[in-house]
C-alpha cells in the first residue's frame, strides 16, 4: 500500500494515457454509433475521477505543504527531476479536470462519428497532460506537460472542429508556443542562477523559491524573467491583448474541446501565475502590479462589450471567458487573501459554468446545426428541460447570489478594492455588462414566439444529456451555497502563496478585514 501511496500522483496522471493506449487496441468501425470505445474512454475518465476524489478525502489541511510528494532524479546532469506533489490549490484544479473529463466524453457520444479511436485517445492523452502540469513541482517537468498538452488539443481542434478549424488550430498552437519558448529560456536561466548561488543545478520549484534573483527595476533581470513567464501564462489565460486566439479556437473546437479548453486549459495560465511567476519574482510582481491590474480590468470590460454584440452563441461564450478570466488576473494581482481566494474560486467557477455553457451550446448545435442567435427564439416551449438548465447556468455566469459566480466575483472585487479602488469600480461594470449580454442572449434564444419552423420539432434533452448537465448544475449550487467547504482546503496554500509573493509589498494598504468571508456564507444565498 505504501508503494501505491508514494506513486499515487504518477498513477493518477498516467492512468488516462495508459487507458487510452489500451483503447487503441479495441476494435472500432468507422462511424459505428455503438462503438465500445466510448464506454471504454468514459470508464477510464470516471476511474481517474474516483482516484482524485480519494486524493481529496485523504488530503489534510494540517499536513505538509505538498502531499503525496514524489521525487525521482530524471536528468541529473541538468538538475532536472521528476517531482510531483499536490497542495490546496492544485487539488481543486485536479478535481476540476477529472470532474469535467467524463462529462466532456459523455457529451461527445453522438457528436463524434468519425475517427472515434483517435478522438478518445487524444482526449485522454490531453487529460494526462493537464493533470501533469497541475501536479508538477519541477519547472522543467511542468514545461514538458505544458507543451505536450498542446499536441492533443491541436489535433482535436484541427480534425473535429468547424469550418475554420485549421486556421484556429494553427493559431492556438503558435500563440502558445511563442510564449512558452521564452518561458523555457527563463527556466534555464533560473537553473543556472541556482547553480551560481548554491553550486548545484536545480529546477525544483521549492528550491527556486529560495533563490534571490538580482536585478531590480522595470527591465532588471528579475523583471525580464517575470515577463517571460507572464507572457506564457497571459497568453494562456488569455489576458487582453493576447486573447485573439481564444475566440477562434473556442468557436472552431468540437464541444468537448471547447469545454476542456475553457474549463481547464485557461486555468493553466492562472495556475502558472500562482505557482511560479508570483512566488519566484515578488519584487517584479510589485512593480508590474498596476499594469497587470489595468490589463485585467480592460479584459473584463472589453470582453463583456465584445460579447454583447456577437451574433453567434458560442462566440459570445468565448468572449465572456475573456471577461471572466480578466477578473482572475485582477484578483491575483490585488495580492491579498480575499482577492487571491476569489481568483482561485473564480477559476473553478468559470470551469464549471463556462464548461456547462459550451455543453449546452453543443447540444443545441447538434439539433439545429447552427449557433446563430437569430435562428432561435421560443425554445422554452419545445425544450423545457434544456431551458431550465440553460437558465441556471446563465444565472451562474452573471453571478447571481446563490450561485458560484457570485462568490468569486464578489471576493475579487472586495479584494481589489483594497488595492486599487478606481480599477475596481471600473471592473464592477463588468458584472452589469455580464448580465446584459447573457440575459439578452437568453431572452432572444429562449423567449418569444417560435419564428423558424425548424425549431418547432426540437427534441428536449435525452437522459444522457441530463446526466451530463446534472452534475454541473449541482456543482453550481453547492459552490454558491457552501463556499467554505472549498476554502478550507485552499487556505493554508493561499497563506503560503501570499507570504512568498508579497515581499516588497509591506507598505501595501490592506484595509479589508481578512475574516470577512471566513465567517461562513453570510453573503451566500439569501
Amino acid at each position: 500500500m505504501s508503494g501505491f501511496n508514494t506513486h499515487l500522483l504518477s498513477v493518477l496522471v498516467f492512468l488516462p494515457l495508459a487507458w487510452a493506449a489500451v483503447g487503441l487496441l479495441l476494435p472500432a468501425k468507422e462511424g459505428d454509433p455503438r462503438s465500445p470505445l466510448k464506454i471504454w474512454a468514459f470508464s477510464g475518465s470516471l476511474l481517474t475521477f474516483a482516484l482524485s476524489v480519494f486524493l481529496y478525502l485523504e488530503f489534510s489541511t494540517q499536513g505538509e505543504e505538498f502531499q503525496w510528494l514524489e521525487t525521482l532524479s530524471w536528468i541529473p546532469s541538468l538538475g532536472i527531476s521528476y517531482s510531483m506533489g499536490i497542495d490546496g490549490i492544485s487539488l481543486w484544479l485536479v478535481l476540476l479536470t477529472t470532474f469535467l473529463m467524463p462529462l466532456a466524453i459523455l457529451a461527445s457520444f453522438n457528436a463524434i462519428e468519425h475517427r472515434q479511436k483517435e478522438y478518445y485517445f487524444l482526449l485522454l492523452a490531453l487529460e494526462t497532460g493537464m493533470l501533469g502540469a497541475f501536479v508538477s513541482l519541477d519547472l522543467f517537468l511542468f514545461y514538458v506537460f505544458w507543451e505536450a498538452m498542446l499536441i492533443p488539443m491541436y489535433f482535436l481542434v484541427g480534425i473535429w472542429g468547424g469550418k475554420e478549424r485549421i486556421y484556429a488550430a494553427m493559431k492556438f498552437f503558435i500563440y502558445t508556443m511563442v510564449g512558452s519558448l521564452l518561458m523555457l529560456v527563463a527556466i534555464f536561466y533560473l537553473a543556472y542562477q541556482h547553480k551560481l548561488q548554491t553550486g548545484t543545478y536545480s529546477t525544483l520549484i521549492l528550491d527556486l523559491y529560495k533563490l534571490h534573483i538580482q536585478g531590480e527595476g522595470y527591465l532588471g533581470a528579475q523583471s525580464l524573467l517575470f515577463l517571460a513567464f507572464a507572457l506564457a501564462f497571459a497568453i494562456k489565460v488569455p489576458l487582453f491583448p493576447l486573447h485573439t486566439w481564444l475566440p477562434d479556437a473556442h468557436v472552431q473546437a468540437p464541444t468537448a474541446g471547447s469545454v476542456i479548453l475553457a474549463a481547464v486549459l485557461l486555468k493553466m495560465g492562472g495556475y502558472g501565475f500562482l505557482r511560479i511567476a508570483f512566488p519566484l519574482f515578488p519584487s517584479a510582481v510589485s512593480l508590474y502590479q498596476l499594469p497587470f491590474m489595468v490589463l485585467g480590468t480592460i479584459a473584463v470590460v472589453y470582453g463583456a462589450l465584445v460579447a454583447t454584440i456577437q451574433p453567434d452563441i458560442k462566440k459570445l461564450v468565448a468572449y465572456s471567458s475573456v471577461s471572466h478570466m480578466g477578473y482572475v488576473i485582477l484578483g491575483l494581482f490585488s495580492l491579498n487573501q480575499i482577492g487571491v481566494t476569489g481568483s482561485i474560486y473564480q477559476m473553478l467557477n468559470h470551469g464549471v459554468s463556462t464548461g456547462a455553457l459550451f455543453l449546452l451550446v453543443g447540444m443545441i448545435y447538434e439539433r439545429r446545426h447552427t449557433r446563430e442567435i437569430s435562428a432561435f427564439g421560443g425554445i422554452t416551449r419545445v425544450m423545457p428541460l434544456f431551458s431550465v438548465a440553460f437558465m441556471i447556468v446563465t444565472l451562474s455566469s452573471v453571478a447571481l447570489p446563490g450561485t458560484n459566480g457570485f462568490i468569486g466575483e464578489f471576493l475579487i472585487l472586495l479584494g481589489s478594492w483594497g488595492t486599487n479602488r478606481v480599477l475596481t469600480s471600473i471592473a464592477a461594470l463588468g458584472v452589469v455588462l455580464g448580465a446584459v449580454y447573457m440575459l439578452w442572449m437568453f431572452q432572444r434564444v429562449m423567449f418569444g414566439p417560435i419564428q423558424d419552423p425548424l425549431n418547432e420539432k426540437l427534441k428536449d434533452l435525452s437522459l444522457r444529456e441530463v446526466c451530463v448537465l446534472m452534475p454541473l448544475v449541482i456543482a453550481i449550487f453547492v459552490m454558491g451555497i457552501v463556499p467554505n467547504f472549498f476554502f478550507q482546503k485552499m487556505d493554508p496554500a493561499i497563506q503560503r502563496f501570499l507570504n512568498r509573493s508579497s515581499i516588497g509589498l509591506a507598505s501595501q494598504p490592506n484595509s479589508v478585514p481578512q475574516t470577512s468571508y471566513a465567517q461562513g456564507n453570510d453573503h451566500g444565498s439569501s
Binding site: 530524471w74 485549421i166 488550430a169 511563442v178
Partner: protein, 501 residues
Amino acid sequence: MEALKTIQPDLLTLSQDQFNCLVPYFTVFAGTCLSILLSVWGAIKAKWPVFLVASLTCLVAMVNSLVLIQGTSQSLFNGMMVSDSYSHFFNLIFLGSALFTIFGSFRYLDEEKMQHPEYYVLVLFAALGMMLMTSAQDLIVLFVALELMSLCVYVLVGFRRNDRKCNEAAMKYFILGSAASAVLLYGAALIYGATGSTEIHSVLKFVQDHPQSLNPIFGLGFSMVLFGFLFKVAAVPFHMWMPDVYEGAPVPVTGFMTTGLKAAAFGTFVRVLLAIGYGKGISSAIQSHLHDILWVSCALTMLVGNFIALTQVNLKRMLAYSSIAHTGYLLLGILSGTRSELGFAPGVMYILIYSAMNLGAFVILTLLSSEGDSKLNLHDLSGVARRHPWLSFAMSVFLLSMAGIPPTAGFAAKYLVFYSAIQANEIPLVVIGVLSSAVSVFYYLRVLVYMYMRDPVGSPPVLRVSLWSGLAIASMILITIEVGVLPEQMIDLAKRVVLSL
C-alpha cells in the same frame, strides 16, 4: 618552426591495439571492395548480394565502433589519425546513416528503375570518407578524406542520370563544392605556412606557445578553413547551393546528405576549431573575431532557414531549409561550447538526434514519393493519415521532434543547446533561436495539417512499406522517443565522447 617530421618506420607498423582501433575502417573498406567485385561479376544478379554485403558491413562496423567507443585514445599512423571515443561516436552516426539509407533505398531504386549496385558501393565509400574525416589529425588527411566523401556524394546526387534537374543539382554541387574544398585547402596551406605544420596538435602547440606573435597569414588561413566548413555545413550566407541540391538529388540521397554529410562536416569542424586553438590558446583578438563571425552566421542561419522554409510547398525543399535552420542551432552549440560547463556535448548530441529524426523523415519521404521524386508537394499528402495511420504517426513524431516539442528527442537536443548557450551568456542568440523555432512550428505542423486534417484528393495508390524501410523507421522512432523521455544516458555518452577530444 618545426620542420616536417621525418617518418619513423617503427611508427608505421601497427601494434595490436592500434590494429583493433582500425577494425571498423578496415571492415568498411573490405566490404566496399567486396561489393565492387560482386557488382562486376557478370555471372550473378548483383542486387541482393551487394545489398546484403553493404548492410552487413555497416552493421559489423557499427558493432566494432560501439565497442571501441569505450576505449582509450590511440594515435595512429605517425599522428595522422586518431581513434578516440569522439571519432567512434561519429562513426556510429555515419554507419547508421549509411545503413538506413541503404535500407530505405532498396525498393526505391527498383521503383525508380535505377537499381545499380554502384549505388551501395558509393554510399559505403562516402561513409568511409566521413569516418576518416572525423578521425583525421592532419589537415592533409582531412582533405583527402573530405574529397573521398564529396566525390562519392557528387555522383550519388546525380544518380538519376536521365533527369535534368538531377544533373543540374549534381553539377551545381560539384562546382560549388570543389570551390569550397579549394578554399579549405588553401586555408590549410596558409596555416602550414604560418605554423610550419599541418598536424593539428603541432598547430595547436604552436598557437599556444606564440599567442601574440601569430601573423596575419594564420588569421587568413584560419578564416578560410572556417568558411570552407561553413560552406560544407550550409550555414548562411554559404547556403545557396543547398536547397537546389537537396531538391534535385534522389530522396534517399538527400536523406543521407542531411545526416551523414552534415554530421561529418560538423564533427570535423569541431575538431579543427579546437585544434586551431579556438577557446583555448588563441589570442583574444582572433578569438573575438572568430566569435563574431560565428555569431552572425548562427543568427542568420536560424532566421533565414526558418523563414524561407515557411513558404516552401515541396517537402524536400522544405526539409532542406529546415536543415539549414538546424545548422543554426548546431552552430549555437559550437559557439557556446568553449564557455559552458557541458562543453561541446550538447552540439554533439544534437547532431546525433538530428540525424536520427531526419533520416526517419526521409525514409518516409522515400516511401511517399512516386516516379521521379514527384508527388512530394504538400497537397499530395492530403489525408494520408486515413490510409496509413502508422506511417503518419511516425512522420508526426519526426516532425514534432524537429519542431522541438516534448517529449521527443528534438526537444531534448534543443534544450541542451539552449541551456549551454545560456551558460555561455549568449542570451540574445538564445532568444533569436527560440523565436525562430516558434516560427518553425508553423511549417512542421502544416505537414500534419495536410496528413490529418484534409480530405484525400483522388485515389492515390496504397503504398507498400518494405521490411527494410519499416525497420529503419521503427529504429529511428525508438531513438527519437527513448532519448526524448530519458535523455540522461545520451547526455552522459555525449559528455564522455567530448572529453576525449
